[in-house]
């Protein structure tokens, strides 16, 4: 069936909440407003306000509440209106959710999903346009998932809800309305598995979340020039499926990483380091990163465009690598 990313998330949560009444949804505007981005449309009607909880605008408070509820045996899904606001809940996520299992020597666990949109949309300004996945990936105890397609979003969200660990599930505002084919019926996609999104032999592009769509567009354009791009989507950022990515790089000999986040200490730096360690001898050229600019996101349209990886920059990076390497 062809459905939107938004609808895929809606179906995943709905199916899981029907299956297990320990699961509840909590966050700002998730109930009667139907979600700031309408992801929880129809939920309060189906599950009632005891399981679909509108909160005050207090991210630390309601995220901490959900973590405490998870410690006591419930399985909360926390919706952050955006991950920018999740910064207010970082103490709860980093100091509590991620560490409680370890600090307690395995006595307690925190089965929780914290989800919402990350990255930039259109001209939302510096405080609403951040790609913070690297922050979460840095913290032991968290899993981080960032699917790009409706199919992956549904299958991975269902797995995240069933996971016994805290899972950070990063969506994107610009993906919500994009449609894609989703498998009929019940399915899950395991956390921690990358997927080959397009086969090629000349160069590998690793891209996730909405940068995957950019990578696929570039691959299509380069095919006309005779450059066969292999596109790999890690889908899960932590734990990272290095084996699958490395296998692709060993085949193509070249790697371009496209990420929307800030360049310095960004996720691509870690991916590059890992691939260098595993596949250095197979590389025909340096690993290239196309990243967001190291600036707070500007409001003005041309400046914003300049701060985010775009088609031309990815095209140029791939062409340079492929031609330079020959």
């Amino acid at each position: 069936m062809l459905i939107s990313y938004r609808e895929a998330l809606n179906q995943a949560m709905r199916e899981e909440m029907r299956r297990d009444d320990r699961i509840f949804l909590i966050g700002e505007e998730v109930g009667y407003y139907q979600g700031a981005f309408k992801v929880s449309k129809g939920f309060v009607e189906e599950f009632g306000s005891q399981r679909v909880l509108d909160t005050p605008i207090t991210e630390a408070g309601f995220t901490g509440l959900a973590i405490g509820a998870a410690m006591a045996g419930l399985h909360p899904i926390v919706e952050l209106m955006t991950f920018n606001f999740g910064i207010l809940a970082l103490d709860q996520i980093v100091n509590n959710a991620a560490k409680i299992r370890y600090m307690s020597g395995g006595q307690l666990s925190v089965p929780i999903v914290i989800r919402g949109p990350g990255s930039a949309a259109h001209q939302l300004g510096a405080q609403h346009s951040q790609s913070l996945e690297a922050w979460f990936c840095h913290v032991p105890g968290l899993k981080v998932v960032a699917p790009a397609t409706p199919h992956d979003a549904k299958g991975l969200l269902k797995s995240a809800v069933r996971d016994q660990n805290p899972v950070i599930f990063i969506e994107a505002q610009l993906l919500y309305s994009i449609k894609g084919e989703v498998q009929e019926g019940e399915y899950t996609i395991p956390i921690g598995q990358a997927e080959l999104k397009r086969q090629g032999k000349d160069v590998t592009i690793v891209a996730y979340s909405k940068m995957l769509l950019l990578a696929l567009e570039v691959a299509e354009l380069l095919a006309r020039e005779g450059i066969e791009v292999e596109v790999m989507d890690p889908r899960t950022l932590k734990p990272f499926d290095l084996a699958t990515i490395t296998a692709s790089v060993k085949k193509t000999g070249r790697l371009v990483i496209v990420e929307e986040g800030w360049r310095f200490a960004g996720l691509g730096a870690q991916i590059a380091e890992s691939v260098y360690s595993e596949a250095f001898d197979y590389l025909d050229g340096p690993i290239v990163r196309v990243t967001g600019a190291d600036v707070p996101m500007p409001y003005s349209r041309p400046l914003e465009d300049a701060a985010i990886p775009d088609r031309d920059r990815v095209l140029a990076a791939v062409r340079r690598l492929v031609k330079g390497g020959n």
Binding site: P56, G61, G64, L65, A66, A69, M103, S104, G105, Q107
Partner: protein
């Protein structure tokens, strides 16, 4: 008053006192490292409050958590082993003094980011309501946490959603070295903080274990029958420094002040009360000292003789497979 009941309360406070005195000695001998925050002087609050709840009720605390953990029934040997960083510790040596957890007794942990565990307490209480159970949650914290944003967010959510959590503010008058008058705007009436969210609040003499228990029995009954939050301000005094890193008085308070407060030692007060009522004798107290002394000595011996965690434990317990 029942003699056995009073002697039991005394024994519990005495256990915490002697346990922590030995912990301080072990710290001096470098058997214990890191931060060690002693509860000495405040024992009546944990013992009185926890005496008023059921075994399946939840308790959660801040980093000064030895007293609450022991009062909830944790094995002193396992607690001492945790302080020693041993594999036999409550948390296999991974938590330490500030992060004791005894999940099977619903002691849900000590947390060391000031204010950060109050939202967790509301979550435990939320789960109780959600699952239509009838437990209550005791959440202990110092007055230093009161001005924190997370405390206020927790008060608001608890009041809004009628969560069965009893916030127990242990007001020992100092957040580390800063007196409450310089940290909390409503310092002379900290309960007003909770009342401003519509939470009922009462003060209690935190040096009087019987007063604490009596108030808590009443409050627990109310909260258990109709779930809602409650706030208790237990006034107390920390006889030792903030942690082992600083002396009992130092620059921020005088030796005279500490000596004056020590006259209201909760153990001394209860002992005098028992003696005055002729419900106990010198011999009884000697006997208790002997028993508790042996228990603490056994805890230290257990901790000392236990192995450190194996290197293979390093990466265990980060994730559940």
């Amino acid at each position: 008053m029942d003699r056995e009941d009073l002697l039991t309360l005394y024994r519990q406070m005495l256990l915490i006192r002697r346990f922590e005195e030995r912990s301080a000695e072990m710290y001096a001998l470098a058997k214990i490292a890191g931060f060690l925050h002693l509860y000495i002087g405040e024992e009546a609050i944990a013992v009185g409050a926890i005496a008023a709840i059921r075994a399946d009720d939840y308790v959660i605390s801040a980093y000064r958590d030895h007293g609450h953990c022991l009062a909830k029934g944790a094995d002193p040997g396992q607690v001492m082993a945790e302080l020693f960083g041993k594999a036999t510790g409550l948390c296999k040596g991974k938590g330490g003094s500030m992060h004791l957890v005894d999940a099977k007794r619903n002691f849900m942990g000590g947390y060391a980011i000031v204010g950060g565990h109050l939202p967790l307490a509301t979550g435990l209480a939320f789960a109780v309501n959600y699952q239509k159970r009838d437990q209550v949650v005791l959440c202990f914290f110092g007055e230093g946490a009161l001005p924190s944003g997370q405390a206020h967010e927790a008060f608001n959510l608890a009041a809004l959603w009628k969560l069965p959590v009893i916030f127990i503010c242990e007001n020992n008058r100092y957040g580390m070295g800063t007196p409450v008058q310089r940290a909390v705007a409503l310092y002379s009436n900290v309960a007003a903080t909770a009342r401003s969210y519509g939470i009922e609040a009462e003060p209690v003499d935190g040096m009087d274990v019987l007063a604490v228990r009596a108030l808590m029995r009443r409050v627990v009954k109310l909260v258990r029958s109709v779930p809602h939050p409650y706030f208790v301000e237990a006034t107390t005094y920390r006889f030792m420094g903030h942690s082992m890193a600083d002396p009992a008085h130092g620059h921020y308070r005088t030796k005279e002040e500490v000596e004056e407060e020590r006259k209201r030692d909760p153990l001394v007060l209860l002992r005098q009360s028992i003696m005055n009522q002729k419900l106990g004798t010198e011999a009884d107290f000697k006997q208790l000292e002997r028993e508790v002394g042996e228990m603490v000595a056994a805890a230290v011996k257990f901790a000392d003789e236990s192995p450190f965690p194996a290197r293979t434990a390093l990466e265990e317990d980060v994730y559940i497979e």
